[in-house]
Protein backbone atom coordinates (compact mmCIF):
# COMPACT_ATOMS: atom_id res chain seq x y z
CA UNK A 1 0.00 0.00 0.00
CA UNK A 2 1.13 3.49 -0.74
CA UNK A 3 1.99 5.18 2.55
CA UNK A 4 -1.72 5.23 3.36
CA UNK A 5 -2.74 7.19 6.35
CA UNK A 6 0.25 9.45 6.33
CA UNK A 7 0.32 13.14 5.63
CA UNK A 8 2.03 13.03 2.23
CA UNK A 9 -0.63 10.67 0.87
CA UNK A 10 -3.34 12.96 2.19
CA UNK A 11 -1.66 15.94 0.55
CA UNK A 12 -1.17 14.21 -2.80
CA UNK A 13 -4.80 13.10 -2.90
CA UNK A 14 -6.12 16.48 -1.83
CA UNK A 15 -4.22 18.11 -4.69
CA UNK A 16 -5.61 15.58 -7.19
CA UNK A 17 -9.15 16.32 -6.03
CA UNK A 18 -8.53 20.05 -6.40
CA UNK A 19 -7.12 19.64 -9.91
CA UNK A 20 -10.14 17.60 -11.00
CA UNK A 21 -12.51 20.03 -9.35
CA UNK A 22 -10.72 22.90 -11.13
CA UNK A 23 -11.25 21.10 -14.42
CA UNK A 24 -14.93 20.48 -13.84
CA UNK A 25 -15.59 24.18 -13.22
CA UNK A 26 -15.10 26.99 -15.73
CA UNK A 27 -11.71 28.66 -15.99
CA UNK A 28 -9.51 25.65 -15.35
CA UNK A 29 -6.16 27.44 -15.69
CA UNK A 30 -6.95 30.16 -13.17
CA UNK A 31 -8.48 27.64 -10.73
CA UNK A 32 -5.31 25.57 -10.90
CA UNK A 33 -3.12 28.65 -10.32
CA UNK A 34 -4.99 29.26 -7.09
CA UNK A 35 -4.61 25.74 -5.66
CA UNK A 36 -1.56 26.56 -3.46
CA UNK A 37 -3.34 29.68 -2.15
CA UNK A 38 -6.60 27.82 -1.51
CA UNK A 39 -4.73 25.18 0.44
CA UNK A 40 -2.51 27.62 2.33
CA UNK A 41 -4.42 30.91 2.48
CA UNK A 42 -3.00 34.12 3.92
CA UNK A 43 -2.42 33.83 7.62
CA UNK A 44 -3.03 30.09 7.85
CA UNK A 45 -1.23 27.69 10.12
CA UNK A 46 1.96 26.23 8.65
CA UNK A 47 1.71 22.48 9.16
CA UNK A 48 4.96 21.06 7.77
CA UNK A 49 7.57 23.48 6.44
CA UNK A 50 9.34 26.63 7.61
CA UNK A 51 6.80 29.13 6.24
CA UNK A 52 3.66 29.45 4.18
CA UNK A 53 5.64 30.43 1.05
CA UNK A 54 7.64 27.24 1.07
CA UNK A 55 4.45 25.23 1.65
CA UNK A 56 2.87 26.88 -1.38
CA UNK A 57 5.98 26.30 -3.49
CA UNK A 58 5.88 22.61 -2.68
CA UNK A 59 2.14 22.38 -3.32
CA UNK A 60 2.79 24.05 -6.67
CA UNK A 61 5.35 21.36 -7.54
CA UNK A 62 2.99 18.58 -6.53
CA UNK A 63 0.27 20.18 -8.64
CA UNK A 64 2.61 20.16 -11.65
CA UNK A 65 2.94 16.38 -11.25
CA UNK A 66 -0.83 16.08 -10.90
CA UNK A 67 -1.12 17.87 -14.23
CA UNK A 68 1.10 15.19 -15.73
CA UNK A 69 4.20 17.35 -16.15
CA UNK A 70 7.78 16.77 -14.94
CA UNK A 71 8.60 18.79 -11.83
CA UNK A 72 12.28 18.71 -12.82
CA UNK A 73 11.53 20.84 -15.89
CA UNK A 74 9.93 23.64 -13.88
CA UNK A 75 11.88 26.91 -13.98
CA UNK A 76 9.94 28.23 -10.94
CA UNK A 77 8.85 31.39 -12.76
CA UNK A 78 6.24 29.71 -14.95
CA UNK A 79 2.75 30.04 -13.50
CA UNK A 80 0.64 27.02 -12.66
CA UNK A 81 -1.99 28.38 -15.04
CA UNK A 82 0.53 28.00 -17.89
CA UNK A 83 1.16 24.40 -16.90
CA UNK A 84 -2.59 23.79 -16.74
CA UNK A 85 -2.86 25.14 -20.27
CA UNK A 86 -0.02 22.85 -21.39
CA UNK A 87 -1.87 19.89 -19.89
CA UNK A 88 -4.96 20.85 -21.87
CA UNK A 89 -3.02 21.24 -25.10
CA UNK A 90 -0.95 18.05 -25.09
CA UNK A 91 -2.16 15.22 -27.27
CA UNK A 92 -0.44 12.38 -25.45
CA UNK A 93 0.96 11.79 -21.95
CA UNK A 94 4.67 12.14 -21.18
CA UNK A 95 6.89 9.12 -21.72
CA UNK A 96 8.45 8.88 -18.26
CA UNK A 97 5.79 8.19 -15.67
CA UNK A 98 7.63 9.36 -12.55
CA UNK A 99 8.93 12.73 -11.40
CA UNK A 100 10.80 13.87 -8.30
CA UNK A 101 9.99 16.86 -6.15
CA UNK A 102 13.49 18.17 -5.46
CA UNK A 103 12.48 20.61 -2.75
CA UNK A 104 11.33 17.69 -0.60
CA UNK A 105 14.69 15.88 -0.96
CA UNK A 106 16.52 18.46 1.12
CA UNK A 107 15.33 16.93 4.35
CA UNK A 108 17.10 13.68 3.74
CA UNK A 109 20.86 13.25 4.29
CA UNK A 110 22.98 11.20 1.89
CA UNK A 111 23.37 7.52 2.67
CA UNK A 112 26.44 6.85 4.82
CA UNK A 113 27.79 4.92 7.78
CA UNK A 114 27.73 7.06 10.90
CA UNK A 115 28.95 6.73 14.49
CA UNK A 116 26.21 7.84 16.89
CA UNK A 117 26.81 9.24 20.34
CA UNK A 118 26.18 5.77 21.75
CA UNK A 119 29.89 5.18 21.07
CA UNK A 120 31.47 4.39 24.44
CA UNK A 121 35.05 4.90 23.26
CA UNK A 122 35.85 1.37 24.30
CA UNK A 123 39.36 0.00 24.65
CA UNK A 124 38.97 -2.90 22.23
CA UNK A 125 38.04 -0.61 19.32
CA UNK A 126 36.75 -3.36 17.04
CA UNK A 127 35.53 -0.76 14.53
CA UNK A 128 39.03 0.54 14.02
CA UNK A 129 40.46 -2.93 13.60
CA UNK A 130 37.73 -4.23 11.31
CA UNK A 131 37.99 -1.45 8.76
CA UNK A 132 40.02 -2.42 5.70
CA UNK A 133 39.99 1.07 4.27
CA UNK A 134 41.39 3.13 7.11
CA UNK A 135 38.15 5.08 7.36
CA UNK A 136 37.76 4.82 11.14
CA UNK A 137 39.78 7.00 13.47
CA UNK A 138 39.53 7.97 17.14
CA UNK A 139 38.99 11.61 18.00
CA UNK A 140 38.62 12.68 21.64
CA UNK A 141 38.27 9.03 22.63
CA UNK A 142 35.39 8.30 20.25
CA UNK A 143 35.25 6.78 16.80
CA UNK A 144 34.54 8.81 13.71
CA UNK A 145 34.24 7.73 10.09
CA UNK A 146 35.87 9.50 7.17
CA UNK A 147 33.22 9.52 4.51
CA UNK A 148 35.77 9.91 1.73
CA UNK A 149 37.45 6.63 2.67
CA UNK A 150 34.39 4.62 3.79
CA UNK A 151 33.20 2.07 1.22
CA UNK A 152 30.02 1.27 3.12
CA UNK A 153 31.02 -2.36 3.76
CA UNK A 154 29.22 -2.29 7.13
CA UNK A 155 31.90 -4.31 8.95
CA UNK A 156 32.18 -1.72 11.73
CA UNK A 157 28.38 -1.71 12.07
CA UNK A 158 28.42 -5.45 12.67
CA UNK A 159 31.32 -5.57 15.14
CA UNK A 160 30.37 -2.67 17.43
CA UNK A 161 29.35 -4.23 20.77
CA UNK A 162 27.15 -1.21 21.59
CA UNK A 163 25.37 -1.06 18.23
CA UNK A 164 26.61 2.51 18.15
CA UNK A 165 27.35 2.61 14.42
CA UNK A 166 24.49 2.82 11.98
CA UNK A 167 23.96 2.95 8.28
CA UNK A 168 21.88 6.02 7.46
CA UNK A 169 19.56 5.03 4.66
CA UNK A 170 18.03 7.05 1.88
CA UNK A 171 14.62 5.37 1.66
CA UNK A 172 14.18 5.76 -2.10
CA UNK A 173 17.66 4.42 -2.86
CA UNK A 174 17.17 1.63 -0.38
CA UNK A 175 13.81 0.57 -1.79
CA UNK A 176 14.85 0.55 -5.45
CA UNK A 177 15.62 -3.03 -6.53
CA UNK A 178 17.70 -1.95 -9.52
CA UNK A 179 19.65 1.07 -8.27
CA UNK A 180 17.82 3.47 -10.58
CA UNK A 181 17.30 6.28 -8.07
CA UNK A 182 20.10 8.06 -6.19
CA UNK A 183 20.94 11.42 -4.71
CA UNK A 184 23.08 13.52 -7.05
CA UNK A 185 25.95 15.81 -5.98
CA UNK A 186 23.44 18.46 -4.88
CA UNK A 187 21.59 16.02 -2.63
CA UNK A 188 18.56 15.70 -4.91
CA UNK A 189 17.20 12.30 -5.83
CA UNK A 190 17.36 11.63 -9.55
CA UNK A 191 15.75 8.78 -11.43
CA UNK A 192 17.78 7.19 -14.19
CA UNK A 193 14.99 6.32 -16.60
CA UNK A 194 17.21 3.99 -18.63
CA UNK A 195 17.51 1.82 -15.52
CA UNK A 196 14.09 2.41 -13.87
CA UNK A 197 11.57 -0.44 -14.12
CA UNK A 198 8.65 1.68 -12.85
CA UNK A 199 7.94 -0.67 -9.96
CA UNK A 200 6.80 2.29 -7.85
CA UNK A 201 8.69 1.24 -4.73
CA UNK A 202 10.35 4.66 -4.34
CA UNK A 203 6.92 6.31 -4.50
CA UNK A 204 5.80 4.26 -1.50
CA UNK A 205 9.12 4.48 0.35
CA UNK A 206 9.80 8.23 0.42
CA UNK A 207 8.58 9.69 3.74
CA UNK A 208 8.54 13.17 2.18
CA UNK A 209 6.31 12.02 -0.66
CA UNK A 210 8.88 13.38 -3.09
CA UNK A 211 8.38 10.86 -5.87
CA UNK A 212 5.21 11.48 -7.85
CA UNK A 213 3.41 9.70 -10.63
CA UNK A 214 2.65 12.04 -13.48
CA UNK A 215 -1.11 11.88 -13.66
CA UNK A 216 -3.06 11.36 -16.87
CA UNK A 217 -6.34 12.36 -15.27
CA UNK A 218 -6.67 15.61 -17.24
CA UNK A 219 -6.05 13.75 -20.50
CA UNK A 220 -8.84 11.31 -19.66
CA UNK A 221 -11.27 14.01 -18.52
CA UNK A 222 -10.61 15.82 -21.80
CA UNK A 223 -11.51 12.70 -23.80
CA UNK A 224 -14.72 12.28 -21.82
CA UNK A 225 -15.62 15.96 -22.25
CA UNK A 226 -15.05 15.78 -26.01
CA UNK A 227 -17.88 13.25 -26.16
CA UNK A 228 -15.80 10.25 -27.15
CA UNK A 229 -16.71 6.78 -25.99
CA UNK A 230 -14.30 6.19 -23.12
CA UNK A 231 -13.95 2.67 -21.75
CA UNK A 232 -12.73 1.74 -18.27
CA UNK A 233 -10.80 -1.46 -17.69
CA UNK A 234 -10.54 -2.31 -14.00
CA UNK A 235 -7.56 -4.24 -12.69
CA UNK A 236 -8.61 -7.17 -10.45
CA UNK A 237 -6.96 -5.43 -7.47
CA UNK A 238 -9.59 -2.68 -7.59
CA UNK A 239 -12.18 -4.94 -5.98
CA UNK A 240 -10.32 -4.65 -2.70
CA UNK A 241 -10.02 -0.88 -2.70
CA UNK A 242 -13.31 0.63 -1.56
CA UNK A 243 -16.02 -0.53 0.82
CA UNK A 244 -18.57 -1.43 -1.87
CA UNK A 245 -19.52 -4.22 -4.23
CA UNK A 246 -17.89 -4.68 -7.63
CA UNK A 247 -21.25 -3.91 -9.22
CA UNK A 248 -21.57 -0.64 -7.28
CA UNK A 249 -18.09 0.34 -8.41
CA UNK A 250 -19.22 -0.36 -11.97
CA UNK A 251 -22.09 2.12 -11.56
CA UNK A 252 -19.88 4.72 -9.86
CA UNK A 253 -17.33 4.63 -12.68
CA UNK A 254 -20.09 5.09 -15.25
CA UNK A 255 -21.34 8.10 -13.31
CA UNK A 256 -17.97 9.78 -13.83
CA UNK A 257 -18.53 9.65 -17.58
CA UNK A 258 -17.16 6.32 -18.79
CA UNK A 259 -19.35 4.50 -21.34
CA UNK A 260 -18.38 0.92 -20.58
CA UNK A 261 -16.59 -0.90 -17.79
CA UNK A 262 -14.62 -4.11 -18.30
CA UNK A 263 -13.18 -6.34 -15.64
CA UNK A 264 -9.58 -7.09 -16.49
CA UNK A 265 -10.11 -10.40 -14.69
CA UNK A 266 -11.86 -11.33 -17.94
CA UNK A 267 -8.52 -11.01 -19.72
CA UNK A 268 -6.84 -12.82 -16.82
CA UNK A 269 -8.83 -15.91 -17.73
CA UNK A 270 -7.32 -15.82 -21.21
CA UNK A 271 -3.87 -15.32 -19.71
CA UNK A 272 -4.39 -18.39 -17.52
CA UNK A 273 -5.40 -20.59 -20.44
CA UNK A 274 -2.52 -19.47 -22.65
CA UNK A 275 -0.04 -19.69 -19.84
CA UNK A 276 -1.15 -23.20 -18.87
CA UNK A 277 -0.73 -24.29 -22.48
CA UNK A 278 2.66 -22.63 -22.73
CA UNK A 279 3.74 -24.28 -19.47
CA UNK A 280 2.75 -27.78 -20.57
CA UNK A 281 4.51 -27.36 -23.93
CA UNK A 282 7.69 -26.13 -22.28
CA UNK A 283 7.74 -28.89 -19.67
CA UNK A 284 7.10 -31.54 -22.30
CA UNK A 285 9.99 -30.13 -24.30
CA UNK A 286 12.21 -30.65 -21.26
CA UNK A 287 12.37 -27.17 -19.73
CA UNK A 288 13.20 -27.00 -16.03
CA UNK A 289 10.98 -24.04 -15.23
CA UNK A 290 8.95 -21.16 -16.61
CA UNK A 291 8.17 -17.77 -15.10
CA UNK A 292 4.90 -15.84 -15.33
CA UNK A 293 4.64 -12.68 -17.43
CA UNK A 294 1.76 -10.59 -16.15
CA UNK A 295 3.54 -8.15 -13.82
CA UNK A 296 4.58 -5.04 -15.75
CA UNK A 297 7.38 -4.27 -13.29
CA UNK A 298 8.84 -7.73 -13.77
CA UNK A 299 8.55 -7.52 -17.55
CA UNK A 300 10.50 -4.28 -17.51
CA UNK A 301 13.07 -5.82 -15.19
CA UNK A 302 13.57 -8.63 -17.70
CA UNK A 303 13.90 -6.19 -20.60
CA UNK A 304 16.38 -3.89 -18.84
CA UNK A 305 18.33 -5.95 -16.34
CA UNK A 306 17.62 -9.64 -16.67
CA UNK A 307 17.81 -10.52 -20.37
CA UNK A 308 19.24 -13.93 -19.47
CA UNK A 309 15.92 -15.07 -18.00
CA UNK A 310 13.98 -14.11 -21.14
CA UNK A 311 13.99 -17.67 -22.56
CA UNK A 312 12.23 -18.85 -19.39
CA UNK A 313 9.52 -16.17 -19.33
CA UNK A 314 6.13 -17.28 -20.61
CA UNK A 315 5.20 -15.80 -24.00
CA UNK A 316 1.69 -15.20 -22.69
CA UNK A 317 0.39 -11.63 -22.74
CA UNK A 318 -0.95 -9.80 -19.70
CA UNK A 319 -4.63 -9.73 -18.62
CA UNK A 320 -4.69 -6.05 -19.61
CA UNK A 321 -3.47 -6.95 -23.11
CA UNK A 322 -6.32 -9.39 -23.74
CA UNK A 323 -8.95 -7.17 -22.12
CA UNK A 324 -7.90 -4.15 -24.19
CA UNK A 325 -7.96 -6.29 -27.33
CA UNK A 326 -11.55 -7.32 -26.60
CA UNK A 327 -12.60 -3.76 -25.70
CA UNK A 328 -11.15 -2.28 -28.91
CA UNK A 329 -12.72 -5.02 -30.98
CA UNK A 330 -16.14 -4.50 -29.46
CA UNK A 331 -15.83 -0.70 -29.58
CA UNK A 332 -13.39 0.20 -32.37
CA UNK A 333 -13.74 3.98 -32.05
CA UNK A 334 -13.31 4.05 -28.31
CA UNK A 335 -10.63 5.43 -26.00
CA UNK A 336 -9.46 2.86 -23.43
CA UNK A 337 -8.37 3.64 -19.87
CA UNK A 338 -6.83 1.14 -17.50
CA UNK A 339 -7.41 1.57 -13.74
CA UNK A 340 -4.15 0.49 -12.21
CA UNK A 341 -2.78 -0.26 -8.76
CA UNK A 342 0.72 0.82 -9.79
CA UNK A 343 2.82 3.01 -12.05
CA UNK A 344 4.40 0.10 -13.95
CA UNK A 345 1.30 -0.32 -16.08
CA UNK A 346 1.84 3.18 -17.52
CA UNK A 347 4.91 1.80 -19.24
CA UNK A 348 3.04 -1.28 -20.47
CA UNK A 349 0.30 0.97 -21.86
CA UNK A 350 2.87 2.96 -23.85
CA UNK A 351 3.92 -0.23 -25.58
CA UNK A 352 0.35 -1.32 -26.33
CA UNK A 353 -1.64 0.71 -28.87
CA UNK A 354 -4.88 -0.74 -27.49
CA UNK A 355 -4.39 0.96 -24.10
CA UNK A 356 -4.69 4.72 -24.40
CA UNK A 357 -4.41 5.92 -20.79
CA UNK A 358 -3.74 4.70 -17.28
CA UNK A 359 -5.42 6.11 -14.17
CA UNK A 360 -4.32 4.82 -10.81
CA UNK A 361 -6.59 3.93 -7.88
CA UNK A 362 -5.72 7.12 -5.98
CA UNK A 363 -6.72 9.20 -8.99
CA UNK A 364 -9.97 7.29 -9.38
CA UNK A 365 -10.68 7.88 -5.68
CA UNK A 366 -9.96 11.59 -6.18
CA UNK A 367 -12.36 11.62 -9.13
CA UNK A 368 -15.14 10.19 -6.95
CA UNK A 369 -14.49 12.82 -4.28
CA UNK A 370 -14.42 15.68 -6.79
CA UNK A 371 -17.67 14.51 -8.36
CA UNK A 372 -19.21 13.77 -4.96
CA UNK A 373 -19.98 10.17 -5.83
CA UNK A 374 -20.72 8.01 -2.80
CA UNK A 375 -19.87 4.56 -4.10
CA UNK A 376 -21.56 2.55 -1.36
CA UNK A 377 -24.96 4.06 -2.19
CA UNK A 378 -24.72 3.38 -5.93
CA UNK A 379 -26.94 0.72 -7.45
CA UNK A 380 -25.51 -2.52 -8.74
CA UNK A 381 -24.73 -2.82 -12.45
CA UNK A 382 -23.81 -6.28 -13.68
CA UNK A 383 -20.83 -6.85 -15.96
CA UNK A 384 -21.32 -8.06 -19.52
CA UNK A 385 -18.76 -10.82 -19.14
CA UNK A 386 -18.33 -12.83 -15.98
CA UNK A 387 -14.73 -13.50 -14.97
CA UNK A 388 -13.74 -16.65 -13.12
CA UNK A 389 -12.85 -16.90 -9.47
CA UNK A 390 -9.26 -17.55 -10.43
CA UNK A 391 -8.99 -14.61 -12.79
CA UNK A 392 -10.25 -12.34 -10.03
CA UNK A 393 -7.53 -13.64 -7.73
CA UNK A 394 -4.72 -12.52 -10.06
CA UNK A 395 -4.30 -9.49 -7.80
CA UNK A 396 -3.07 -11.65 -4.91
CA UNK A 397 0.41 -13.09 -4.61
CA UNK A 398 0.14 -16.75 -5.55
CA UNK A 399 -3.09 -16.16 -7.48
CA UNK A 400 -1.62 -16.44 -10.96
CA UNK A 401 0.19 -19.70 -10.25
CA UNK A 402 -2.93 -21.09 -8.60
CA UNK A 403 -5.00 -20.38 -11.73
CA UNK A 404 -2.51 -22.18 -13.95
CA UNK A 405 -2.41 -25.11 -11.54
CA UNK A 406 -6.18 -25.56 -11.73
CA UNK A 407 -5.89 -26.22 -15.47
CA UNK A 408 -3.20 -28.91 -15.14
CA UNK A 409 -3.91 -32.57 -15.84
CA UNK A 410 -3.42 -34.81 -12.86
CA UNK A 411 -0.26 -36.41 -14.22
CA UNK A 412 1.44 -33.07 -14.90
CA UNK A 413 4.22 -32.30 -12.47
CA UNK A 414 3.47 -28.81 -11.21
CA UNK A 415 5.10 -26.94 -8.37
CA UNK A 416 4.68 -23.23 -7.90
CA UNK A 417 7.37 -20.98 -6.46
CA UNK A 418 6.46 -17.41 -5.65
CA UNK A 419 8.82 -14.47 -5.98
CA UNK A 420 6.70 -12.33 -3.71
CA UNK A 421 8.18 -8.87 -4.24
CA UNK A 422 11.19 -7.71 -6.25
CA UNK A 423 14.25 -6.71 -4.25
CA UNK A 424 17.99 -6.86 -4.77
CA UNK A 425 17.90 -10.31 -3.14
CA UNK A 426 15.06 -11.79 -5.18
CA UNK A 427 16.61 -10.42 -8.38
CA UNK A 428 19.84 -12.24 -7.46
CA UNK A 429 17.76 -15.37 -6.95
CA UNK A 430 16.16 -15.03 -10.40
CA UNK A 431 19.59 -14.41 -11.94
CA UNK A 432 20.80 -17.65 -10.42
CA UNK A 433 17.90 -19.62 -11.91
CA UNK A 434 18.56 -18.07 -15.31
CA UNK A 435 22.27 -18.81 -15.15
CA UNK A 436 22.01 -22.41 -13.98
CA UNK A 437 18.77 -23.16 -15.82
CA UNK A 438 17.50 -24.85 -12.67
CA UNK A 439 15.07 -23.83 -9.94
CA UNK A 440 14.89 -26.43 -7.22
CA UNK A 441 11.93 -24.71 -5.51
CA UNK A 442 9.40 -25.14 -8.29
CA UNK A 443 8.80 -25.27 -12.03
CA UNK A 444 6.37 -22.38 -12.32
CA UNK A 445 7.87 -19.22 -10.88
CA UNK A 446 5.28 -16.54 -10.27
CA UNK A 447 6.89 -13.12 -10.09
CA UNK A 448 5.14 -10.16 -8.48
CA UNK A 449 7.07 -6.89 -8.13
CA UNK A 450 5.08 -6.01 -5.01
CA UNK A 451 5.04 -8.08 -1.86
CA UNK A 452 1.46 -9.33 -1.54
CA UNK A 453 0.68 -8.87 -5.23
CA UNK A 454 -1.12 -6.05 -7.05
CA UNK A 455 -3.15 -5.16 -3.94
CA UNK A 456 0.16 -3.78 -2.58
CA UNK A 457 0.82 -1.53 -5.59
CA UNK A 458 2.14 1.98 -5.01
CA UNK A 459 -1.18 3.67 -5.80
CA UNK A 460 -3.52 1.50 -3.75
CA UNK A 461 -5.90 2.98 -1.19
CA UNK A 462 -6.91 0.16 1.10
CA UNK A 463 -4.82 -1.64 3.71
CA UNK A 464 -3.34 -4.90 2.50
CA UNK A 465 -5.28 -7.01 4.98
CA UNK A 466 -8.73 -5.66 4.13
CA UNK A 467 -7.96 -5.57 0.42
CA UNK A 468 -6.95 -9.24 0.56
CA UNK A 469 -10.20 -10.18 2.30
CA UNK A 470 -12.34 -8.23 -0.17
CA UNK A 471 -10.62 -9.54 -3.30
CA UNK A 472 -10.82 -13.14 -2.01
CA UNK A 473 -14.49 -12.76 -1.13
CA UNK A 474 -15.24 -11.38 -4.58
CA UNK A 475 -13.30 -14.27 -6.12
CA UNK A 476 -15.39 -16.77 -4.19
CA UNK A 477 -18.50 -15.49 -5.96
CA UNK A 478 -17.07 -16.50 -9.34
CA UNK A 479 -17.01 -19.90 -11.00
CA UNK A 480 -13.76 -21.87 -11.11
CA UNK A 481 -11.77 -21.53 -14.31
CA UNK A 482 -12.06 -24.37 -16.84
CA UNK A 483 -10.29 -25.15 -20.08
CA UNK A 484 -13.28 -24.50 -22.33
Amino acid sequence: MSNSGNQTTHLKREILVRIIKAYLKDNFEENVRQIPYDMRPKGCEVPFRCCVYKERAIIKDRTIAGLGISIEDDDEKTLLSTYAQKALERTEPDKNALTVLEAACKGCVPSRVFVTNLCQGCVARPCLNSCNFGAVSIVDGKSIIDGAKCKGCMKCVKVCPYSAIVKIKVPCEDSCPVGAIAKDENGYAKIDFDECINCGKCVSACPFGAVHEKSQIIDVLKEIKSGKKVIAMMAPAIMGQLPCTAEQLHTAIKKTGFSEVYEVAQGADITTKNEAKDFVERMEAGAEFMTTSCCAGYNELVAKHLQEIKPYVSDTKTPLYYTAEIAKKEHPESVTVFFSPCVAKKKEAQLNPNVDYVINFEELGALFIAMKIEVSTCEDTAFNAEASKHGRNFALSGGVAKSVEVLMDEDMIFKAHAINGLSKETIRELKKYAKTGVCELGNLIEVMACEGGCIAGNATINSLKTAFKQVSAYGEKGKPITND
Binding site: S4, G5, T9, H10, R13, E14, V17, M39, L242, P243, A252, E362, G365, A366, F368, I369, K372, I373, E374, V375, S376, T377, I461, N462, S463, K465, T466
Partner: protein
Amino acid sequence: MEKINVKVCLGTTCFVMGSSNLQELMDTVPAKYGDAVDVIGVPCLGLCSIDWEFSRAPYVKVDNDVVYEATVEKVLSAIERKLGNE
Protein backbone atom coordinates in the same frame (compact mmCIF):
# COMPACT_ATOMS: atom_id res chain seq x y z
CA MET B 1 -20.02 3.90 33.24
CA GLU B 2 -21.50 4.84 29.93
CA LYS B 3 -20.02 3.19 26.86
CA ILE B 4 -18.01 5.36 24.49
CA ASN B 5 -19.17 5.10 20.88
CA VAL B 6 -16.58 5.51 18.14
CA LYS B 7 -17.81 5.82 14.58
CA VAL B 8 -15.24 5.59 11.80
CA CYS B 9 -16.61 7.06 8.59
CA LEU B 10 -16.13 4.66 5.69
CA GLY B 11 -17.82 6.87 3.09
CA THR B 12 -15.95 7.19 -0.20
CA THR B 13 -14.36 10.55 0.61
CA CYS B 14 -13.14 9.54 4.05
CA PHE B 15 -11.98 6.16 2.81
CA VAL B 16 -9.87 7.62 0.01
CA MET B 17 -8.49 10.36 2.26
CA GLY B 18 -7.28 7.82 4.80
CA SER B 19 -9.95 6.03 6.82
CA SER B 20 -8.87 2.83 5.04
CA ASN B 21 -6.00 3.03 7.47
CA LEU B 22 -8.31 3.38 10.47
CA GLN B 23 -9.86 -0.04 9.99
CA GLU B 24 -7.26 -1.47 12.32
CA LEU B 25 -9.09 0.35 15.14
CA MET B 26 -11.85 -2.27 14.84
CA ASP B 27 -9.34 -4.82 16.14
CA THR B 28 -7.08 -2.77 18.39
CA VAL B 29 -9.70 -0.77 20.32
CA PRO B 30 -11.74 -3.74 21.64
CA ALA B 31 -8.47 -5.49 22.51
CA LYS B 32 -7.35 -2.48 24.53
CA TYR B 33 -10.55 -1.20 26.12
CA GLY B 34 -12.83 -4.24 26.11
CA ASP B 35 -16.47 -3.32 26.68
CA ALA B 36 -15.78 0.30 27.62
CA VAL B 37 -15.50 1.43 24.01
CA ASP B 38 -17.60 0.43 21.05
CA VAL B 39 -16.03 1.04 17.64
CA ILE B 40 -17.77 0.58 14.32
CA GLY B 41 -17.29 1.55 10.69
CA VAL B 42 -20.24 3.53 9.39
CA PRO B 43 -21.42 4.75 5.98
CA CYS B 44 -20.89 8.44 5.16
CA LEU B 45 -21.42 10.61 8.26
CA GLY B 46 -22.21 13.54 5.96
CA LEU B 47 -19.51 15.76 7.45
CA CYS B 48 -17.67 16.19 4.16
CA SER B 49 -20.73 17.71 2.52
CA ILE B 50 -20.80 20.68 4.91
CA ASP B 51 -18.98 23.36 2.90
CA TRP B 52 -17.49 20.47 0.96
CA GLU B 53 -14.76 20.01 3.52
CA PHE B 54 -13.23 16.95 1.89
CA SER B 55 -9.74 18.15 2.75
CA ARG B 56 -10.35 17.62 6.48
CA ALA B 57 -11.44 14.00 5.93
CA PRO B 58 -11.21 11.32 7.22
CA TYR B 59 -13.71 12.02 9.97
CA VAL B 60 -14.29 9.98 13.10
CA LYS B 61 -16.88 10.61 15.79
CA VAL B 62 -16.01 9.79 19.38
CA ASP B 63 -19.46 10.14 20.94
CA ASN B 64 -20.36 13.62 19.71
CA ASP B 65 -16.84 14.94 19.26
CA VAL B 66 -15.57 15.06 15.69
CA VAL B 67 -11.97 14.10 14.99
CA TYR B 68 -10.75 15.83 11.81
CA GLU B 69 -8.05 14.40 9.54
CA ALA B 70 -8.26 11.40 11.80
CA THR B 71 -5.31 9.12 12.38
CA VAL B 72 -5.10 6.10 14.66
CA GLU B 73 -3.18 8.20 17.21
CA LYS B 74 -5.68 11.07 17.14
CA VAL B 75 -8.62 8.70 17.67
CA LEU B 76 -6.89 6.89 20.52
CA SER B 77 -6.10 10.12 22.32
CA ALA B 78 -9.72 11.27 21.85
CA ILE B 79 -10.82 8.04 23.53
CA GLU B 80 -8.32 8.59 26.35
CA ARG B 81 -9.66 12.10 26.90
CA LYS B 82 -13.20 10.75 27.12
CA LEU B 83 -12.11 8.15 29.62
CA GLY B 84 -10.57 10.92 31.68
CA ASN B 85 -7.09 9.48 31.41
CA GLU B 86 -5.61 12.64 29.93
